[in-house]
Symmetry: C2
Subunit: 345 residues, 2 copies
């Protein structure tokens, strides 16, 4: 059903999945996670990765699984390994600054990411065609941001400085990342991924012109190749300004964060793409009544067709599992009769 | 000239000032800052605060001074003191969670913020009417965000949880903050502030509906009182979605971040308000040529009238002083002949 929604075919109700559904919000995830001594070892263990990938389908009843992995496996496969520091986030020992650094970056043919494909194959087997499996990668800009900055950042000013001061080097890097990502994603599809999502998590720190030049261009490069095989979703977080450009992309689905009004987005994107999103993850802290009320409003605003229900960002780890399940149930319960109410929603 | 621009009167060229112009980007600031053992002591020293307030007028040639202070002096004046931890940001020992916490909050009449008014009076004397002085406060939502969260945050999910789970308590808190802020700002005006800016730094983490209910409502409450005396600027960072609502506010100036297209903003806001902004602070890392080119584009997009040139956020501390000065000079040099080029800018 989710694949039909992605392609714009008829559906009986809006399908739903949640970003970070395979994650700390589930006690069952935390139990599996505890078996690895660190996050990266966990990501590299296909059995464990497949297990947590399938969990939310069984436990929450979502309409798709997303392979459990990390966007930063690509920098690592290109020669920049990282660590995941508890409560702090990713940290890179080596970062990108000079031409020499960029020249040293490998364009991976994808073969050094076998553990991801193994996890996909295992997960597909366990899913047994109940729901489709989503593969993913980070947008080249978002990956470059970490590779230059060396860690997370509120402003990513170091990474943006790289774009402003060394634009040629930035473009060389972005092209290498895009080529690596294409190889990686095609191998994910080969292993069984039915849809691909590109996460541009740090789209929002760029100006509209910078985003077009340094981010969207490379997402489109990936999209043009991968969408020959499976539908592709572009999720450019906080990049409200980029929607008019994304309209012309070869992607099938556009992810929206909660800062964007669904009907405004539909007006900009037109009727040829599926929209995905966009509840505020903090809504799931609210009472059951409030969750139901706002979920209905969201469903009314998007309508049933060319729509995949989701949050506008990943689940926050301290959300109650019961609330998450309730949100999923609300969508299943309330979406099938809805048509978009463009005038009074 | 800046006041005339704020009020929509004729100007010879676009006036310019920069958020965080009184700050670490100036070696002269760092020299004065070194005289205090910590940031809060520095903020509370009227002589030193006045000195760094005036510095950018002399050194950078900006068209306004902004009083050197901190938005968190209001939570402190209401009973929640904070510390500024080097390289980490603000930290509150006590935070807001319960009805009892909110009941304990003082609505300040402003009298416990005398050091700010003293600094304003000293700065006004040193400015000797060369340029106007801008006073400021944080938006009630942005202050509540810190008071609940207890520190900075990428998502402010704890503060948003407070809004979703205890909306009544949130409204009580926001009203207390708004009343305190009105008293504080009127005393700033009494001391000599010629224009007031309200900084809604964390506007962007809220959904459009939440921002309207929990943030804009209280900024408007402040605005309605203060704009009887002096023009008021609302700067809701990353809240592109709020522009259509801000249009109906009693503010005279609307601050824009760099994610917003100037001409789109003008279309939404209409012709009755002045726009302020919106260069990406990272532009000042670029070459002199690139800075000049993009500054001209910005001036073309905004036009000369009802416009105050600025960045779309505060200066980053590692920006070169020469680049900052050059940006100011570019605006002075290129803005006076410009009219908005709505068709091809």
């Amino acid at each position: 059903m989710l694949l039909r929604a992605a392609k714009g075919e008829e559906v009986e109700r809006a399908p739903v999945w949640l970003m970070r559904q395979a994650g700390r919000v589930l006690p069952e995830y935390r139990a599996v996670r505890a078996k690895s001594k660190n996050f990266i070892e966990f990501v590299k263990n296909p059995e464990l990765a497949a297990e947590v990938t399938v969990q939310p389908v069984d436990i929450l009843g979502v309409d798709a699984a997303i392979i459990f992995s990390d966007i930063l496996v690509i920098p690592e496969a290109m020669g920049l390994p990282y660590q995941m520091i508890e409560a702090k986030g990713p940290w890179f020992e080596k970062t990108l600054a000079t031409q020499e650094d960029v020249d040293k970056l490998i364009i991976t043919d994808g073969s050094n990411l076998q553990y991801v494909y193994d996890a996909i194959r295992l997960a597909k087997k366990q899913l047994d065609n109940r729901v489709p499996l989503i593969g993913f990668c980070g947008a080249p800009w978002t990956l470059l941001a970490y590779m230059v900055e060396g860690s997370g950042s509120k402003t990513f000013s170091k990474a943006k400085k790289f774009l402003y001061t060394q634009p040629k080097l930035a473009h060389q890097t972005l092209e290498k990342i895009a080529k690596s990502s294409i190889n990686y994603l095609l191998a994910q599809v080969e292993a069984g991924a039915n849809l691909i999502q590109i996460f541009d998590s740090w789209a929002g720190v760029l100006s509209p012109e910078m985003h077009k030049e340094f981010s969207l261009k490379y997402m489109n490069m990936i999209c043009d190749e991968v969408s020959k095989k499976v539908p592709v979703t572009i999720f450019a977080k906080d990049a409200h300004f980029a929607l008019a450009e994304i309209k012309n992309s070869s992607c099938s689905v556009v992810g929206l964060d909660w800062s964007v009004n669904p009907q405004e987005a539909r007006k900009i994107i037109g009727s040829n793409k599926t929209l995905q999103g966009n509840a505020d993850p903090c809504l799931l802290y609210a009472s059951f009544d409030e969750i139901e009320k706002q979920t209905k409003q969201m469903l009314n605003a998007f309508g049933k067709d060319r729509y995949i229900a989701n949050l506008g960002h990943g689940l926050y780890p301290d959300t109650e599992k019961e609330k998450v399940k309730f949100f999923v149930d609300c969508i299943k319960k309330h979406s099938y009769t809805k048509t978009p109410q463009t005038l009074h929603a």
